[in-house]
């Protein structure tokens, strides 16, 4: 049984179709990189997996059940930082607050809970600044703390919505490497949304490309090619390879800035 399966999934906001007839199966232990322009529905699809966004047609099954039923096995790093940005709590307190945060009562931690908080901070390599107030941390350090929050309740599926945003290239590589190592240690399945394929090239088992209404899922060799990306976007896309890096460019004369930079 696949860990996650999509059957003919359609998602709409009003009359606008964001996802249309999407079917796919994702196996345990995979690392899926998800790419596509702004507003294409990447975050929406993740929210649908969590049961936070209603599905118009088709079905999503996680561990063989409908969305929302098995969320305690999902670690989620949302795209927005929400209120985290303004808080004066330390990284450690923020991770602790998330640990079994859905329980009734006061946020009191047993020694076993504290141990798990330390373990999550270790896994995401955020221990060095665990006692610094969150608002004083750098963007990259904040992402590590949010990763620890996603890891704290020992998830089986990790959904990371643009964890690389606002990181420099070196830290992008380091964070991907760390997540890859965590996956090796724990056997997690990972859905990883990003805009640049390069930092993820060595880590992904498969690539998912989304374009208006269409989704393509396959190995990096299959998907990141002139033919499949051109077919997906319905325009002439060139994949250039140089010095081990991939550059995806729109080959048509009237280059659309936004499409080009986010493909």
């Amino acid at each position: 049984m696949p860990l996650l399966s999509f059957q003919n999934v359609g998602i709409r906001f009003g009359s606008r179709k964001v996802i249309d007839h999407f079917s796919a199966e994702i196996e345990e232990g995979e690392f899926i990189g998800i790419f596509g322009p702004n507003g294409v529905g990447k975050s929406t699809l993740m929210r649908a997996i969590l049961g936070l966004c209603p599905i118009y047609e088709g079905s999503i099954q996680l561990f063989g059940e409908n969305p929302g039923k098995q969320n305690r096995f999902i670690g989620y790093l949302p795209q927005s930082q929400s209120l985290l940005g303004t808080t004066t709590l330390t990284a450690r307190a923020l991770v602790a607050a998330v640990h079994h945060g859905e329980k009734w009562g006061v946020p009191w931690l047993s020694s076993k809970d504290s141990y798990q908080v330390e373990r999550a901070l270790e896994l995401s390599e955020a221990k060095d600044y665990a006692d610094t107030p969150f608002s004083l941390l750098s963007g990259g350090e904040k992402k590590r703390v949010m990763l620890a929050q996603a890891l704290i309740d020992e998830p089986k599926l990790l959904i990371l919505d643009e964890p690389l945003a606002s990181l420099d290239p070196k830290n992008q590589m380091l964070l991907v490497q760390r997540i890859r190592n965590i996956q090796e240690e724990t056997g997690l399945t990972i859905l990883f949304i990003a805009h640049d394929v390069n930092p993820l090239l060595g880590a992904m088992s498969r690539v998912m490309y989304m374009a208006e209404g269409n989704v393509a899922l396959g190995s990096a060799q299959e998907i990141i090619t002139n033919e499949s990306l051109s077919a997906l976007y319905g325009m002439n896309i060139h994949v250039l390879r140089a010095e081990g890096r991939v550059f995806i460019v729109n080959a048509e004369s009237n280059v659309d800035e936004t499409t080009c930079s986010h493909v």
Binding site: G51, G68, T90, A97, K103, W104
Partner: protein
């Protein structure tokens, strides 16, 4: 100084003051991490209208305030984040309710003295019955808050993640806004609706500047709140100046020292 303790009104003031300060200190902490200071401020002033309009319905000012600010708090909570973080929406509701408050005041000439007490607080005027009312409502609020404080903390810092774990953001924010409304009404009795910020934001705000872990901050906030109310009441006995003045002054001085301490020790 101890002989002040034998007066009934001083005893009542100390009891009601400590309880309101404790409630304000704990609830205020959540106001700060949820970043809804303006909504708290608005609830206090909306409560003022409730207090002045209470007579129309044969209620006490405290009861009027409780009804009015709980209603407003619940509305803010139910309408969700977009409303109670929207300065325009809160500002508009605040204006109309203060406008109504003015109307109520003009309808009841001779009520001005009591209005001053509501605005600036009159802790020495707290009766035995009010003390009982304060104890009961505070215990209820703190109990409810304790019941879902873990969930509230979670939704306050990571709403998306909390929602994915099955927590209802609307339910929690509504429940919290009602507790906030009750706290605002009780704190108003001590320092008045104009100075609710003093006990609701002051102690918790200073505590979050000094400490960055949940329990230590709450504890520090409690200490600051209670110590400043007690000192304020004793200074008022000694000097004959209003306790509200002393409580706000003490907190202000504490605040200045806190900022100085942070400047001196963290910029080197």
């Amino acid at each position: 100084m101890m002989h002040y303790l034998s007066y009934d009104f001083v005893q009542n003031a100390l009891i009601a003051g400590s309880i309101a300060a404790a409630l304000g200190a704990v609830v205020g902490y959540f106001v700060i991490i949820r970043n809804i200071g303006f909504a708290a401020h608005a609830l206090a002033h909306i409560g003022f209208t409730g207090a002045t309009g209470a007579i129309l319905f044969g209620l006490s000012p405290l009861q009027g305030m409780l009804v009015m600010s709980s209603l407003a708090g619940a509305t803010m909570g139910i309408s969700g984040n977009r409303f109670h973080r929207s300065e325009l929406a809160i500002g508009m509701v605040l204006s109309i309710s203060l406008g109504l408050g003015t109307l109520f005041l003009s309808l009841y000439q001779g009520f001005a003295g009591e209005a001053t007490a509501i605005l600036f607080g009159n802790i020495f005027g707290v009766s035995h019955a009010q003390v009982i009312e304060t104890i009961f409502l505070s215990a209820l609020s703190l109990f409810l808050l304790a019941l879902f404080s873990r969930r509230l903390l979670f939704t306050s810092i990571q709403p998306d993640l909390a929602e994915s774990r099955g927590l209802s953001l609307t339910f929690l924010s509504t429940a919290f806004m009602i507790i906030l409304a009750i706290s605002v009404a009780l704190v108003s009795q001590v320092v008045g609706t104009l100075l609710v910020f003093t006990l609701l934001i002051g102690p918790a705000g200073i505590a979050t500047r000094l400490s960055h872990s949940f329990w230590r901050t709450i504890l520090l906030s409690l200490c600051i709140g209670i110590v400043s109310v007690w000192s304020g009441i004793f200074l008022a006995c000694l000097t004959n100046q209003p306790p509200s003045f002393w409580i706000t002054s003490i907190l202000f001085v504490l605040y200045i020292f806190t900022e100085l301490k942070i400047k001196l020790f963290e910029s080197v």
